[in-house]
Symmetry: C2
């Protein structure tokens, strides 16, 4: 939940969620022409939908809209709220709109950032379920990932002392929790029979390659093919060792067969929403599943999807990875900005961003401008959605509006948090009009498949982030060199970088110039078919703050309190 | 699955499972007077049932039957198959019978032993779902357990350098996988910010204290109380530090609120079955949840439940922990024996137990006899269920029958694996008749709440196992001494010991005499309200064999293959 500061004026998300009369999921399904008999229910308000309900014809006719944002504050910019709000606004003006979002992770939910089901009167429901175990997709991914590790370590253990033992293991473990102690561990300690001592570590489940595979797979056959291809390590002769070599692709596919099906839920105004897959955009590729997006497009004329964090991370990966690989072509990109976010980028201290600061907004607009330029470079038409907060002043809003007008960029307010669909009607009208009159061109990717990995990284770093130079660690250099000669050389790159800055320095707000981007390490996701490029100090397993959200979550008279 | 050796003569479990026409779970519920509107569906054939449907009146009138077994072979004795078979047999003779079982763990399912849904024509269905993620209960337990660890480590990390840091941490982590490398690990390694270096380790999820709590809790209030009481470590002044002290009991309760509800499924003959909770009986207390047993008793006149492995482990813990704490009083105990198991105990090498061996059976009967004596010592009436295999000969069977007759112990054949309920009619008739004419007395526990821990352990070791002496490690001695002076001194003891012998030596079959039982360590489960006593080399995280079951599991044309 990205809008905690509004709790005082508007009822809390969970109270609003509870005040909504949910419709049975069968009715929601019927509203998008999915018959009851096709649904796999998980309780009365959640269902999985079989893949057979995808329709290539309808996908071609559907209008895909990406929602992204300026560089976010710690509280977020409200992309999910705007995405849901836009779906509600479109419904209000008579369009058939479906939103396709990511599933929340228990890590941030019990840690700092909170859940990820929107906010106020623009939520997906039932939020308690979606924010907790939901349909078990994350658990299935965790299970599948760690089952591979156990079987891999067992392979090495059973073959110890022989030449079949791997020379190097590159596969770790995952848990869906924020646990800094698990980042670097040593396993196999203790007396004989506990394995062989080796370094390992846990990433958070949203960073699992299995998560990426689930989100990029087009069907169960493709899922299995990708699982087979996962790189686990290297044999003594230097050749690669994969899940296929380990002989367990079938077992892992079995563990994921239900998780692959997209989850249908509803919004605060009882419209259909698909919530499926949940990679983070700072440490992974940040988009919901291709399957869910296509399922939404098979059942809606306007499909709104979001990509995590700022446009430098989520949108870049949405275009260059998700769209490149799936063939999806967004008709429009909606860029979300807030007055508070702009003020932060304009140099206003975080403690003062709720106060009017005209100069702060003015200075901060350069962050918005850089993101607009970046999005346009993909051939995308972009409109700005100003996500309204009660602390915003007329003067501040006018400044942003004026800025967009000068540049002939569509501008509309989103007030769905406070008003639901009614608060997003202007935005919806702008979106429909823009798609009709001035839809995006065919995507122009920032790099080509054929570019070397270093060139791919350089193009993103320089064109998207604004870096002036790139430094590769010795380790990164070695790995990239090896990759250039491999069958993976055409893979896209997925840069892991802080979400708080265009650079790898999380305290450099606004637009950062003349900086060097340090590439620390490379992780090969051979099954997901991209390489993860670690920039700066970003870690793939978050930690917990001094006062974690878990301290405030409780069950009171059978009702969940404190989830947001 | 405990009967793999029959695959050649009878269709495989999964093929039989697939040949059964499942009824919608709503119909199964109706058959035991649970209305459709009360169900929380997980797909079409699985549902959770709200706790409000428990009825104290009906529980008092229902006949509870425990199914246990002789000391098992590696393939098991077929307790689950007999339990389900008995429910089917009882239904065949017109009784309202419900079976209450444990949920399988992914560890053995992908490792060696296989799933745990019965076999042949006596299974609970849909077996693919039950053996895989089912309703996510195990995942919720894993999540809750590791969330506590992350929050505990974070507490120590945030307070590092202060006197608030714990002097000692006794809480580890769990995963539902067989992974020997995770038994002993060191966490918090690497650069600053990754925590503080400390020893830790993972148990398998069925050994989690959260699993025990879920299985012993009577309702959500009791669940929360127990979670609050979990011992996490010791403060610098030597006093205990619990989940309540950490301030996260509410959050953990929220993670478990759905897992607490019992799961309703159906048998191969479409009768109702509750499958809920899954502690192993060698490393934990080995019984399904009190809630599920009571829910089954609220809806069936005869309720069949099982406790894991041999009667020295599962039945002992069923009586001394589950029944003592819940007030349940079984009317009868069914002791399952197989010719192959008896031959193994009679000194026949494992490779030859499928061949007729009269002397082997004769010698092996002393294992059966010792278990009968033990069960009788609780005031339980016991009957022997001979679980039939195609390799058994008439002569072998007669020997066992004769043995029982001499001792006035009821004897009946179970052939439900091959014939379903029809194959268990004799057993069902024997059970009904025995309960009518000669029901069990009120349970006589082997030890009193007031006994010292050493005396409790000694009584089980000497009376149940037949040990002549007990040796406590220095560590166990110290911990027990501390416990005797604590508010936990009335807790029962849960002995973790190999399932393959009355002793702690897994290769000592039959009856073992004049042996010393070595107590290696003590683990305090303050929330579950028992202490775990580690005897011998038993490990709470299993390993994988050279050729794990995962190698044979696959998805073929959308169907799961290789699960058993």
């Amino acid at each position: 939940m990205e809008t905690k500061h509004k709790y005082k004026t508007i009822s809390s998300d969970i109270n609003i969620a509870r005040s909504i009369k949910l419709k049975p999921i069968t009715e929601i399904a019927q509203s998008i022409t999915i018959p009851e008999k096709e649904l796999i229910p998980y309780g009365k308000y959640i269902a999985k939908v079989p893949l057979e309900l995808e329709s290539e014809d309808k996908i071609k006719k559907s209008n895909l809209i990406l929602v992204t944002s300026i560089t976010p504050t710690k509280a977020g910019i409200g992309k999910t709220t705007v995405s849901i709000g836009l779906a509600l606004g479109l419904t209000k003006i008579g369009k058939k709109a479906v939103v396709a979002l990511r599933e929340p992770s228990l890590g941030p939910c019990f840690g700092m950032k909170g859940g990820a089901t929107g906010g106020g009167y623009a939520q997906v429901l039932p939020m308690e379920n979606i924010n907790l175990h939901f349909t078990g997709d994350f658990h299935a991914i965790t299970s599948a990932h760690n089952m591979i590790t156990a079987l891999l370590d067992n392979y090495n253990y059973q073959n110890r002392g022989t030449s079949d033992v791997l020379k190097e293991v590159v596969w770790k473990r995952v848990l869906d929790v924020n646990d800094r102690y698990l980042r670097n561990i040593v396993t196999g300690l203790g007396e004989n029979g506990n394995g062989v001592i080796q370094e390992s570590g846990f990433d958070i489940t949203p960073a699992s390659e299995i998560m990426a595979i689930l989100c990029l797979a087009t069907d169960i056959i493709d899922l299995r093919r990708r699982i087979e291809n996962i790189l686990l390590g290297y044999k003594t002769d230097g050749s690669i060792f994969t899940v296929k070599d380990l002989g367990i692709a079938g077992a892992i596919t079995v563990l994921l067969k239900d998780a692959l099906l997209p989850n249908l839920v509803q919004t605060t105004e009882n419209t259909a929403a698909f919530v499926h897959g949940g990679p983070f955009a700072n440490i992974a590729h940040g988009c919901n599943s291709v399957i869910a997006t296509k399922m939404a497009m098979s059942h809606g004329d306007y499909v709104i999807t979001e990509a995590g964090f700022g446009a430098d991370l989520g949108a870049e990966k949405f275009y260059n990875i998700k769209c490149r690989k799936s063939g999806l072509q967004p008709k429009l990109t909606v860029l979300v900005a807030t007055a508070q976010g702009l003020k932060m980028h304009g140099g206003v201290p975080i403690t003062h961003i709720k106060e009017e600061n005209i100069n702060g907004i003015k200075q901060g607009l350069e962050n918005l401008e850089k993101h607009i330029e970046n999005i346009k470079s993909y051939g995308q038409t972009v409109v700005v959605a100003f996500n309204k907060f009660t602390t915003d002043t007329e003067k501040e809003i006018s400044l942003v509006q004026e800025f967009c007008k000068e540049r002939e960029i569509g501008f509309a307010m989103n007030n769905a948090f406070a008003e639901g669909g009614k608060g997003a009607v202007h935005l919806a009208e702008l979106v429909v009009e823009t798609i009709e009159k001035n839809p995006s061109e065919k995507l122009k990717f920032v790099y080509k498949d054929e570019d070397s990995f270093k060139l791919k990284i350089e193009k993103i770093a320089k064109n998207t982030y604004g870096a002036s130079s790139i430094t590769f660690s010795k380790q990164a250099n070695q790995k990239l060199k090896k990759l250039e000669d491999s069958d993976m050389r055409k893979f896209p790159v997925c840069i892991a970088k802080t979400q708080f800055s265009f650079s790898a320095n999380p305290t450099a707000y606004g637009v950062v110039r003349d900086f060097d981007l340090e590439i620390r390490d490379i992780i090969i996701n051979r099954g997901a078919e991209f390489i993860v490029v670690i920039a700066g100090d970003i870690m793939r397993m978050p930690g917990l703050p001094k006062n974690p959200a878990a301290m405030h979550i409780d069950l009171v008279n059978g009702l969940v309190e404190g989830l947001s």
